[in-house]
Point group: C2
Chain length 111, copies 2
């Protein structure tokens, strides 16, 4: 069975992000063909890259809290929130909390 | 911004499941084009349908625990586990714990 705890998947530091990294939970090597499930981790005081791309993100915050910027909008999200980042919208998730922010982030494998 | 707490999304009971329901967190109406993020909830003592289908599942257990059957394999998974259900493999998630099982389950929108 292809099943594992997220902590068993290596955390890859994001060189263009501040105190943030990514775990590729389910990707091509697990058999994924259409989309990929990753976990993004942002330490207290850090943030994900402020960027945009031509594909969507589907996010679920599993631990911690985030101050999210999408385009001109800002919102404070906590554990249990989902967020949809449309293609082409500049976005960042900043962790102003005291705990590590962890979020499931799903992206398409093919554009 | 398209963001919401999962509890704000209606829980639809699954008529072919035992004490289980689904919340469609992100789907076409939010702008999804390739895949959809849902939350599956299974009450203590319940289970998701024992079935197979020609598309994959990507799962993340956000609360509770599950006794998972996939094909001939069985495994006990807890909060923080991911699981990949390959296309065509018969599967069920049974909740033998005391708390409600909640899991993010992503499926392709197009086969």
């Amino acid at each position: 069975m292809i099943a594992k705890h997220y902590s068993k998947v290596p955390l890859e530091r994001e060189s263009n992000a501040d105190k943030a990294g990514i775990r590729w939970l389910i990707a091509e090597k697990e058999g994924a063909t259409t989309f990929s499930m990753r976990m993004i981790e942002v330490e207290a005081g850090g943030s994900s890259p402020y960027h945009s791309h031509p594909w969507e993100h589907q996010v679920y915050i599993s631990e911690g809290e985030a101050d999210v910027t999408m385009g001109e909008e800002q919102e404070h999200l906590e554990t249990g929130y989902t967020a949809f980042v449309p293609p082409g919208v500049k976005h960042t998730f900043k962790n102003n909390g005291k705990e590590t922010l962890r979020m499931i982030c799903v992206i398409p494998l093919k554009e």
